[in-house]
Amino acid sequence: MGQRLISVTENPCKMCFPLGVVTAFYGLARAMNLLHGSQGCGTYIRRHMATHYNEPIDIATSSLSEEGAVFGGEKNLHKGLRNLIKLYDPEIIGVSTTCLAETIGEDLPGSLKRFRDSNPGLKARLIPVNAPGYGGTHFEGYWRGLKAILAGLDLDPTPHGGVNVIAGPISPADARHLRDVLAAALPGHTLFPDISDNLDGAFNPVYDRLPRKGTTVSRIVRMAGASATLELSLFAPPEDSPGAYLEKAYGVRLLRLAPPVGLSLTDAFMTALAELGGVIPARALEERGRLMDAMADSHKYSALGRAAIFGDPDFVHSMACLAAENGLSTALAATGSKSAAFRAVTKKALGPAFGIGQEPVVADSADFALIESLCRKTGANLLVGSSEGRRLAQRENIPLVRCAFPCHDHVGGQRVRTMGYGGSTALLDRMVNELISAEEESFRGELKATHFRPRSADGADDGLRVPTTGDDQAGPSERWITTSPTFTGSEPDLAPWGLPGAAGRAAAGLTDDHPCFGLKAAHGRSRLHLPIAPGCNVSCNYCRRDMDCPNESRPGASSALLGPAEALERFREAKRTLPNLGVVGFAGPGESLNRPETLFETMELIRREDKDVALCLSTNGLALPFHVAELRRLGLSHLTVTVNADKPATAAKIYAWADHFGQRYRGREAAELILNNQMAGIRAAKALGLAVKVNTVLIGGVNEGEVLAIAKKMAAAGVDIGNVMPHIPIAGTAFGHLKAPGAAKIRDLRFACGAHLPQMTHCRQCRADAAGPLGQDQRFWAQSEAPPPPVAPGDGAFKVAVISKSGVMVDSHFGQAERVYVFESDGRSTRLLEIRKVGERSGPCSCGRGPGARKTDKTQGFIERLVQSLLDVDAVVALRIGDSPKTIFKKYGIRCYTAMDSLENAAKAAASSLVEANSGHEGPDLPQSLALA
């Protein structure tokens, strides 16, 4: 979705105000927090911070209940303060409101005053902070907390010449770095706050529940007398900036700098320290040199980067500066905070993007839904931010450098360094290494697309061989095809069996061999559709998924699925039966390229059997660009792509979703993906010399207006023929209520389109298992509605039980039988007597051979029942059969065979073996496909 949503936040990129306040107080010595509100606020924030910092986080609450919400919470607040003081004895307590306290209108300063009055000996300083959860993000909360500390203490304005350094919400490791740099460079400074030890303590068996490190109250009190304040934030809200407060109330000069991340910003920080009277240690120059070295080392990789940076405003801005000075483009800089200043300043800092020819996007008030869609739009290939980007990283397959709060799924969030020359070096290395990894791990997919050769017949590996599925296909460069792949140089290698006749002719632009492509062939040549494709990667709104794909086939029909071996068997049978079989098509029942392995295997089998038959394929085109080269190599000559829309908005109405590389896309995204990939696939197919037909399902009231545009676009892409098909509404589909377009409408449109693209006017919208010339379908296989008339076997015929799931091949272990086909055969002619259904069973195959075979009483019972039901036959044929059924059959004189053949052949072979055995001539000469079990 590209549109900016106003009211629903989908996957937030910010946390709540009080979390920021609490973090600020964690940088003070002997400080505790108390949230005035529901105890859930304390629990949630503790949970959240503890997971990041891996430190105990103690946040007290006033545990307001419904009574407190109605009658006021002061009693609870006072009780909470008393208990907190008794148990922890803190020197300073941040008392913050929450959504609840703010909404019921608690008078916090008044309440604290009353507490002080009734506890005269009170040593702890109480700092009230207005912290409604709806007052901004944790970032703004942090600054509100710091300012409240200054405003809530009696500061001492006596000048002392020291410098205040105010740190934003940074990692403890960065805070420690600042502390060390300042200790060396700027004596007499005050670092405020300093979370380095309180939120990243050492292993210490003696747990000190009161955080004792951090900035002390006595130092904070002296901040009003400093000579200057260096505030390391550009985006602290002016009204809550502690530096601005000190300047306004005590006249302390304020200097604002971005957090020192990267070379330029660290240079600026060091320069500022020097200007403020600091002495820059010589070590800093060495560290700067090392960072320069790192930048030079990595520049060639940095330039590959298009970073999406998200998080707090200062973090994002500084990271973008670091990226920019390394030639690493920032595609997207986004913050969850609302900040016009962030947008303006960051935009300026970025300038034009480096190398991607488009303006970087800067967004505030962003959620992850927006960030994700912008990542796609801008082609980001590196995520920089908190662990909350991990879902996006997984979905989009973009590496994520976790270097911001919160880090929930990795360890070490508290130890992340980003600041100073050293921290920047470590961070730059991490970012660049992610880019290198992404590059190195995706190149195989690209190599495969251009250099892959299948294994040759003798099994020798004559080419690069990589897995056909796996993550390497989903590398960033392939993930989102928006332009057609280019095929330069010579034609891709064909399969070892050479250029088949039909394919060769198609390559020369001839389409007459195919009944759907050439009018001449339409009535003369037969075609056979092989239903081998299960499932689909696209959901069309006119489709019912339990039936055949309506893009090519007649809607409402459903065809049984075949495996490659069964498909070959059906091809052989069709060749025997059908006159003039010229074309074998793959058109369903689902999407052929959804599971391309099955398709490839079938094509290979058929091509080995028959070099001349034309192979054609129908597809929705989503996966086409990734497989078209392979299809061509396997001898595909004709291709049909169903293109139903010109504009994404229309396509979005037609397709509910699309599954692509493990990710489900919806709406406009799905629409754009489908249309782009279709075009890329079609162009590639034409570049490879395939004959291409484009089907368009005319859906009344949905895409009528675009049919002509589609035809023009396709003609421009070199498509050979178009086919406008009427939408046939099917009940139970989203378009089930629409009216089918009339014949006149179809005729008119075909005529109009014909001016640009030749039209197929003889479409019959076949079934996915159609066979024969167009309009004269025949079916001839076992489950057909009208089986061929059986030939009665002669006397002495045997009854043979054959185990099969598909009804085409002997394809089942005995113990996995679902159906038993009982034939009568004398070894010459064979007839199907009956099909016996076998009851449901559970558990693994128990024939003793199947995967996970295991004997239990229950499966044993199933086998026994099955055996009992077959005691009337003379022989049993199965793919495999275990010892226990065999023993029983043997007892009854029933022979068991194993076979891998068509049902009829297997039955015939078994009968013939029985004839031999009965005549006493049994020898080793069983048919090749049959074995005595």
């Binding site: 910010k14 509100g37 993000t137 068996p205």
Partner: protein
């Protein structure tokens, strides 16, 4: 040992002392012991409890995969309850899976001042436009109830506007005394609006629902695997990897299996009243517990083939893990554990620990009620306080689809033999001299670790680091420290492995720097390590 309790309480002010003393007891099974529970947390003492919203949205509704759960409130609550409980879920048959998402109305100051229902409506419109969900659940946070947003009216509007199911839950954080109130509110909503709304046929035998299984780390999947292996059909899971479309027909089940008693016993009881569905307290954590549970379920159905199949599966599953089990037991036997979590787990995990020879010296619930400690028989004696009264107790009438599958005599018999519709609580399973502490707080955790010296402390992230830095192994039983599943036969081994790797981690031996001067004596390191030769 009574001095442990006294010494810990001594630190408190008189009023806190009075408030806390009844929440701590030393087990003495010769007596009928009473514990104070489900009382308001005392302000300022760092309770580990969450809020009503956490119980409703975070626990019960969060794991549902086929519904868009929209938090109505400022951003924090939605963010903090986003994916943090590790409820795993596979996409449903329609491809929807909302578990990875977080939706919030992100209320701002003007929404608080002028009312947030307009924004809520708009958010639903937008959410519907993007995701086309069939179901939307609205959960409110603290300010919503106070500013008077009528989320129930908005839900009704959404239903008629989009033709979807939309249910609103008034689970403002301040309601009740802990997340427990939120469980109850969620249970009520499911009962009123979802359960029993799909009457299509469910042709299967031995149909059960799994209640109070949230599929943390995949627990529910292992449990379902076992149930299905025996031959049970799981109609609906409340709510781990669960779907409201399944819950809509959960009244078709013959038996409700209650894993987490605290969070879901309301549904079990209400379904009993409305549909006659019997319920049984089960435990799939711990091997002896699972065996007992499976035998109880088989006994409920009473058929010999179910019983035989149960024994078969038990034998097979135990045979498959016995080798590893022995290895881990040898390594873990004799250790001491403390457990402080939730409203059920502190009991469940004692069974599993016992399988490994580990004694539980301290156990407590964060938000349990007295019946979770003492058994359901005390329910009539529990005094309803102001906080509990605020949570609606639904009056459930018999539905016309009520069907009792047991004769009254058989039901009575099963009550006695397998504890049908009963839960006897945690205390009766604990040893004399061990401690039970309700709503343990930060300070008490520290103090008990010091006094009882457990080898392992099972708790949550909030107290994990207090314990770990004291040199005591700490494992989170809310999120399993990114491990799991711990349920079922296979989960037991993962649990054993996690404990073993934790106790025998080489790091514990390296705490002291050899060159550093001794100060303050030896650190508290867990026993173990030295004898590890594996």
């Amino acid at each position: 040992m009574a001095e442990v309790k006294n010494e810990i309480l001594a630190k408190y002010k008189a009023k806190v002392f009075k408030g806390r003393k009844d929440h701590i007891l030393e087990v003495d099974r010769s007596k009928e012991q009473v514990i104070a529970a489900n009382a308001r947390a005392i302000p300022g003492i760092m309770t580990n409890r969450g809020c009503c919203y956490a119980g409703c949205k975070g626990v019960v509704l969060g794991p549902l995969k086929d519904t868009l759960v929209l938090t109505h409130g400022p951003i924090g609550c939605g963010f903090y309850s986003w994916g943090t409980r590790r409820n795993k879920a596979r996409s449903g048959p329609d491809g929807s899976n909302y578990v990875q998402y977080c939706f919030s109305t992100d209320m701002q100051e003007p929404d608080i001042v002028f009312g947030g229902d307009k924004k809520l409506k708009k958010a639903i419109e937008e959410g519907y436009a993007i995701f086309k969900p069939k179901r939307i659940m609205i959960c409110s946070t603290c300010p919503v109830g106070l500013i008077g947003d009528d989320i129930h009216a908005v839900a009704a509007w959404a239903e008629s506007e989009f033709g979807i199911t939309c249910v609103a839950f008034s689970c403002e954080g301040y309601k009740g005394v802990s997340q427990s109130a939120g469980h109850h509110i969620a249970n009520n909503g499911l009962m009123k609006r979802i359960i029993g709304t799909d009457d299509s046929d469910y042709p299967a035998r031995y149909k059960v629902n799994l209640l109070g299984e949230y599929n943390i780390g995949g627990d529910g999947w292992e449990t379902e695997r076992i149930l299905k292996k025996i031959g049970y059909s799981v109609v609906a899971v409340f709510t781990g990897d669960g779907a409201l479309s399944d819950i809509a027909r959960s009244h078709k089940a013959d038996l409700n299996l209650v894993q987490c008693h605290r969070s879901i016993n309301y549904v079990a009881e209400m379904m009993k009243s409305a549909f006659g569905t019997n319920w049984l307290k089960v435990n799939f954590i711990g091997l002896k517990a699972i065996a007992q549970t499976l035998r109880n379920i088989a006994e409920f159905f009473g058929e010999s083939q179910v019983k035989e199949r149960t024994e078969e599966v038990l034998e097979e599953e135990m045979a498959a893990i016995s080798g590893d089990l022995g290895y881990y037991r040898e390594r873990l036997s004799g250790r001491k554990a403390a457990i402080f979590v939730g409203g059920s787990r502190s009991h469940h995990y004692q069974d599993l620990l016992r399988d490994f020879g580990v004694t539980t010296v301290l156990a407590g619930y964060e938000f349990g009620h007295r019946d979770d400690y003492e058994g359901r028989r005390v329910i009539p004696d529990i005094k309803e306080d102001a906080d509990s009264k605020n949570i609606e107790n639904l009056v459930i009438d018999k539905d016309i689809r009520y069907r009792a599958i047991l004769s009254p005599e058989r039901a009575e018999e099963l009550r006695a033999t397998i504890g049908l519709e009963n839960y006897e609580g945690m205390i009766k399973d604990m040893e004399d001299g061990t401690y039970v502490v309700d709503d343990l707080n930060h300070y008490e955790t520290e103090a008990f670790v010091k006094f009882l010296k457990p080898d392992i402390f099972f708790s949550g992230i909030k107290d994990k680091y207090v314990i770990q830095k004291a040199g005591v192994l700490s494992r989170q039983l809310h999120s399993y420290d990114y491990s799991g599943p711990y349920s079922g036969f296979r989960g037991s081994l993962i649990f054993g492995q996690d404990l073993t790797m934790g106790l025998y981690a080489p790091a514990w031996k390296l705490i002291k720097a050899p060159w550093a001067a001794r100060e303050g004596g030896e650190p508290l390191a867990p026993k173990g390590g030295e004898e590890d030769h594996a």
